[in-house]
């Protein structure tokens, strides 16, 4: 079958997560992605695990091998004249360049957008950085937790009487990569219409502020800030109300993470009929009329709601509860851990995981498609590249450097 983006040529000069993930999404849809790494050490994520049996090895990083599926890899020292010349030649033949260094890095190598545009006016350059290419924090340092804090996500996670928490994992890095891929495709559409390339300046902090949702908008309506509330939501405040520090989870309750026989589930009834269905399902229709649990009161009596639900849940497995809830149209999620997520029947049925054989890691099941496409299915053509694996294929066969050039470059540490 055909691929959606098989006519596109991408350079990935990114490192760690956001840039490489962005490029890997384009690779999954068939674009040719050439990953340019520093000779010797390569992408920093090669030093990050997980490694088999926790033994670090630059060709055995699970993270690197996931984020760079389907790419070709070359090494170039971008500080050397030769490396720069080869890089610019590559740029002249490419549609999109993706980078996620701190904003000062590419210009300091004389490889900023202005320079690259000279070589290829049709080029789309995607620059992903923590704070963006402008603004007072531009050169500040940042990590995933910094983005969670600045984007307003952290403030609403955790217990009220403890420190706020970041989301588990590296969610903002990944989602910045995804939005970068969207922005790149927008620019491709425009370029196909007009012939003009452009520079995309994407800020991970701003991704976080968007993913946070509407509380900052709510605040402008009501002046009330939302608080964290552990495993429960926090009630939305009404206009004119003072700062909320109650633990009242609000009228939508139960939205509750509770234990069952073999793990946890999240009951998520956000409409009155769903609460009624839940009562019927538990064989307790009388709760619908119970004054403690009528609309507007369940939040204040959340502890009692939890007791009733837990009593019912403790005899049932996650699967039993989920199936019953589905039949009754009660929204409920199974709280997966990474093991049960890996084995989740829905993922298995839809072929979410894709097995790729890596020369050093062996056969690994990676998260595969981001979505299903009927005509142009997601497909990774190869495992992540070994460091410099495609130097010869790209630099000699395609770009016309001689074997002598290659040997010389290698001896000088340029490739």
């Amino acid at each position: 079958m055909d691929s959606a983006l098989s006519d596109l040529k991408i350079i990935d000069v990114g490192h760690y997560i956001a840039g490489p993930y962005c490029a890997s999404l384009l690779a999954g849809l068939g674009a040719e992605v050439i990953k340019v790494e520093r000779p010797g050490t390569g992408d920093g994520s090669r030093q990050l695990g997980p490694f088999p049996d926790d033994k670090p090895h630059p060709e055995k990083s699970g993270l690197f091998s996931y984020l760079n599926l389907g790419k070709k890899g070359i090494t170039l020292n971008l500080k050397s004249a030769w490396g720069k010349e080869a890089f610019l030649k590559l740029v002249s033949q490419s549609d999109v360049l993706i980078e996620n260094y701190e904003p000062r890095v590419m210009p300091s190598l004389q490889l900023g957008y202005e320079e690259l545009r000279e070589v290829n006016p049709r080029l789309i350059m995607v620059s992903i950085s923590n704070y963006g290419q402008t603004g007072p924090y531009r050169d500040y340092k940042g990590f995933e937790i910094t983005m969670n804090a600045l984007g307003g996500i952290q403030y609403e996670i955790g217990e009220l009487d403890r420190e706020p928490l970041k989301l588990g994992g590296e969610q903002m890095q990944f989602q910045a990569g995804l939005v970068g891929a969207f922005a790149a495709m927008s620019a491709i559409w425009y370029r196909n219409l007009t012939g003009f390339g452009q520079h995309i300046d994407l800020s991970i902090a701003e991704i976080a502020a968007i993913m946070k949702g509407a509380p900052s908008t709510y605040f402008q309506f009501s002046g009330v800030k939302r608080m964290r509330n552990g495993t429960r939501p926090m009630r939305d405040a009404r206009p004119g109300e003072p700062v909320v520090k109650s633990r009242d989870p609000g009228n939508l309750y139960p939205i509750a993470i509770l234990p069952c026989k073999d793990g946890y589930v999240c009951v998520d009834t956000e409409a009155e009929p769903q609460w009624h269905a839940l009562c019927e399902m538990m064989g307790k229709p009388e709760l619908k009329e119970d004054p403690r649990f009528i609309r507007g009161r369940r939040g204040q009596n959340a502890d009692e709601v939890d007791i009733i639900l837990s009593e019912w849940l403790k005899e049932k497995t996650q699967r039993e509860v989920f199936e019953e809830c589905t039949n009754w149209r009660v929204p409920l999620g199974i709280v997966n851990n990474m093991e049960t997520l890996f084995n989740d029947p829905q993922h298995r049925e839809r072929g979410f995981f894709t097995t790729v054989n890596h020369p050093e890691l062996g056969s690994i099941e990676y998260p595969g498609h981001l979505f299903l496409m009927s005509e142009t299915p997601w497909h990774y053509q190869s495992p992540a590249p070994l460091l410099g694996e495609h130097n010869r294929e790209i630099l000699v066969n395609r770009m016309g450097y001689s074997e002598r050039d290659m040997d010389k470059a290698a001896s000088e540490g340029v490739i």
Partner: protein, 412 residues
């Protein structure tokens, strides 16, 4: 004339709530013509009534979420349950590039508007579905909200204090994530259509879009090890944490990512005696005694303002940021300088600052052209100017209740 990246792209948008509107917001901000379809009986649930109750006039024009997610879109109403509504809809399909919906998988086929039917009207149409779990598989009919997806994707499980997993993530992570994914998928399909003339169906599952970003799956795939929550700390370096500051419930996050960071950090703290304790000599030591160290760091941070700490530490190259509250985001000097929050000027809600796009494009910057549509605001524009209906025809459709400018609940 300002140019837009997605000029010439027309999208029919059936979506409500967050994920779908987030997706078409990305497209509309880039200049695609997004026609948002509601019906008098089923307005977008985000239109209002929740925050302000139903007491105020035209409460359905006042929802903060709706305002935030629907700028730059054309808002129309069609009752798809009626034959005239369906005919009108098919006229629109004929001149559109893509359709996006977030119904459960049964809805569009039940209306006689499945892909096979629409293809007969527009052979290269692109159709994007955005159901919670996807249109196939054992969960396809299960109802899903954001918290269900947070649970299934593992996000609840890996978020928490050390030893205390299953914290509520505070955001409906699957909504923006799958919205971004749908927008990207739609453009990829459009690109393919441009080359081949072929349309297709894209099935975006919130569950899959979120699972794709779970790097903890790799450790399970390779070592059969299950990721546990580690609070605010980091597996690579220490300390990293969230510390109390001056003021009521004010916090700062700090990451010490190298030995140089550590030396600068303790210098700024005024070289307290505890900083030279052997327990804190290396990154590995500091990880081991993280909890004690956090308490000691807190004795310093609690005497300072969180913004002040950010400036002090970032001044010497250490990552730090205040934990911003909802009321602080749109006044942060950096977001302000970048113009990230954009003004929405709206007849019923006044002027509000809403999150803009997360990126700037040098040639086609996009930005707010108009605020979220009033209910049925663009009926005339779309039905008259785009579809070429006469005023008489529009009046007939209005009289029959096929289109309208007030939700049916407005009449009691």
């Amino acid at each position: 004339m300002t140019e837009f990246a997605l000029q010439g792209v027309r999208i029919i948008d059936h979506t409500i709530a967050w994920a779908g509107p987030q997706s078409t917001l990305l497209l509309a901000d880039m200049g695609a013509e997004v026609i948002k379809i509601e019906s008098c009986t089923r307005p977008d649930v985000m239109r209002g009534g929740g925050l302000s109750g139903r007491r105020i006039q035209k409460f359905w024009e006042t929802g903060p979420w709706f305002l935030q997610l629907n700028r730059n879109k054309l808002g129309i109403t069609i009752d798809l349950g009626k034959p005239e509504g369906k005919a009108l809809y098919l006229k629109l399909v004929k001149i559109s590039d893509a359709i996006i919906d977030n119904f459960t998988p049964r809805v569009m086929p039940n209306l006689g508007l499945g892909y096979e039917e629409l293809k007969k009207v527009k052979s290269d149409i692109i159709m994007v579905h955005l159901p919670g779990y996807g249109s196939t598989g054992p969960y396809k009919d299960a109802p899903a909200y954001g918290d269900c997806i947070n649970a299934f994707s593992g996000l609840d499980n890996i978020t928490g204090y050390p030893g205390k997993p299953n914290m509520r993530p505070g955001i409906a992570y699957g909504d923006p994530t799958s919205g971004f994914a749908a927008a990207f998928g739609l453009l990829a399909a459009l690109h393919y259509r441009q080359r081949t003339g072929k349309g297709q169906v894209i099935d975006v599952s919130h569950f899959e879009a979120t699972s794709k970003a779970m790097d903890g799956l790799l450790d399970y795939a390779i070592n059969r090890r299950i990721q546990r929550p580690i609070g605010n700390s980091d597996a690579r370096f220490a300390p990293q944490g969230c510390y109390p500051c001056l003021g009521d419930d004010k916090w700062v996050v700090i990451t010490i990512s190298s030995e140089q960071d550590w030396l600068e950090f303790i210098r700024i703290l005024g070289n307290p005696d505890w900083a030279h304790d052997n327990r804190f000599a290396t990154s590995a030591n500091r990880r081991e005694y993280h909890e004690e160290l956090d308490k000691l760091i807190g004795t310093w941070t609690c005497q300072h303002d969180n913004y002040e700490i950010m400036r002090l530490l970032q001044g010497v190259g250490i990552a730090a940021a205040p934990v911003l509250e909802s009321g602080e985001l749109f006044i942060d000097p950096h977001f302000e300088a970048r113009g990230f929050y954009e003004a929405s000027i709206h007849p019923y809600t006044g002027t509000k600052l809403l999150p803009g796009t997360a990126y700037k494009m040098s040639r086609t910057p996009g930005g707010t052209r108009w605020s979220a549509p009033l209910f049925g605001e663009h009926n005339d524009c779309v039905f008259k100017d785009i579809l070429g209906l006469s005023s008489v025809e529009i009046a007939e459709l209005t009289a029959k209740g096929i289109i309208g400018t007030e939700p049916s609940y407005a009449r009691g």
